[in-house]
């Protein structure tokens, strides 16, 4: 039964991906890509990775869909090409590549445990009980720190290309109709609640900074979609503080632990530190993602339209 379900999910993933690449209509490709994100998050739940499923559902199906739809409006001046979408000369090398990689998978040893024993052995040294959060915030804190840096660089890059200094004047979508406003009024508090709950849950169950931040970002983007400036209402200084607080909290922790224990990012015993870093990271992730979506239409000169 499970095997049949896995087969169904796998086949539909490949089929949808094939349709995305093969379709000539750009709009159809974007809609299929949103479907692809949803099926992929189904695959994550089957692979017992609920954390990734939450992030994928909010990012792959939600935020990416908004970004692509938005870009489609600004870019779709060129008509679809008259020739077939995938030329045959490309198909055969790709088939060969796919079969080589599929054969390589057959040689993966089955009893390869990876880093599971190491992580579970080290869980006693940290105040976090859930292994994924422990890896993210403690064992591999450098990765998370620099990942927040990548988000900041992306925001700076988008603002640089758009030549805007803050998101407060960015162009807004048309105000939502009454039904849309009604749905948003119901959904928004629930999403904020879910985001906060996921953040709190991260210490001992699936959840944490990334999932919480991504759900909060989706809530903010939904508000923006209704024609409300959401984060644009904040003063510029506060917006910058929210944008940088995750990165800065890791920096402060790194400096503090360098002088106290001689090693960077060595977490102190106190659980407050981990909570502080996690909350700051969540706020930064949400702010960065909302800013990325809000800044990309750019150009406040069309404000009155």
């Amino acid at each position: 039964m499970n095997l049949a379900f896995d087969l169904l999910v796998g086949l539909s993933l490949v089929w949808v991906a094939w349709r995305i690449v093969g379709s000539r209509d750009h709009f159809q490709a974007v809609v299929l890509f949103i479907t692809f994100g949803l099926i992929l998050s189904l695959a994550w739940t089957r692979l017992q990775s609920p954390d990734i499923a939450i992030a994928e559902a909010a990012v792959g199906a939600g935020l990416a869909g908004v970004l692509f739809m938005d870009a489609l409006g600004g870019l779709s001046s060129s008509p679809g090409s008259p020739r077939p979408a995938v030329p045959l000369t490309l198909l055969f090398p790709c088939l060969i590549l796919a079969s080589i990689m599929a054969i390589a998978v057959l040689f993966v040893p089955e009893d390869f445990l990876g880093l599971i024993p190491v992580v579970h052995g080290a869980l006693t040294d940290t105040s976090l009980e859930y292994p994924v959060t422990a890896v993210l915030l403690d064992f591999r804190a450098y990765d998370t720190w620099l990942e927040l840096g990548v988000l900041l660089v992306a925001v700076l890059g988008v603002m640089g290309i758009r030549r805007i200094g803050s998101i407060s004047g960015s162009r807004l979508p048309a105000p939502a109709d009454p039904v849309g406003r009604w749905i948003i009024r119901i959904l928004l508090p629930i999403m904020v609640l879910i985001g906060g709950y996921l953040l709190w849950l991260g210490a001992f169950a699936p959840g944490g900074a990334f999932q919480g931040g991504v759900v909060l970002a989706a809530a903010g983007v939904m508000l923006w979609q209704a024609g409300h400036p959401s984060l644009g209402l904040l003063p510029r200084l506060w917006w910058i503080v929210l944008l940088f607080c995750g990165f800065l909290s890791f920096l402060i922790l790194a400096f503090w632990s360098l002088f106290h224990s001689g090693r960077m990012l060595a977490h102190p015993e106190n659980k407050l530190w981990i909570l502080g870093v996690e909350y700051a990271a969540t706020i930064s992730i949400a702010t960065c993602l909302i800013s990325l979506v809000l800044a990309s239409p750019g150009r406040c000169r069309v404000r009155d339209n």
């Binding site: 870009a71 057959l106 990942e147 990334f210």
Partner: protein
């Protein structure tokens, strides 16, 4: 064992399909979508190798990597789409062609 095989082979197929789309489409949005499919394939491959159906569960290190990877992918996508918009504004076309004079034909 079987789920491992199904999802790994799905992942490699997704990667190849994305690669094919990246090479085949001149339109920039379609290229970025194809890159996202490739990223999905890579993530699925990582997790399918980390997955053990019975006792030890899923390796948390690849899970954390994929979690950061998803957030990095969306920020890179937003940046790439912004660059694509800029290219369209400057050149007037959202397609990458070898011979720009042939785009109208």
């Amino acid at each position: 064992m079987n789920s491992l095989l199904i999802y790994s082979i799905t992942a490699t197929s997704l990667f190849t399909i994305g690669l094919m789309g990246l090479a085949a489409h001149p339109n920039l949005i379609r290229k970025i979508i194809s890159l996202n499919i490739m990223a999905g394939g890579v993530f699925l491959f990582l997790i399918s190798l980390a997955y053990h159906p019975d006792d030890p569960g899923v390796d948390p290190v690849p899970q954390a990597m994929v979690l950061t990877g998803i957030v990095v992918t969306i920020s890179a996508t937003a940046f790439a789409l912004c660059l694509a918009r800029r290219i369209t504004e400057i050149t007037g076309s959202s397609r990458l062609e070898d011979k720009p004079e042939d785009t109208d034909s």
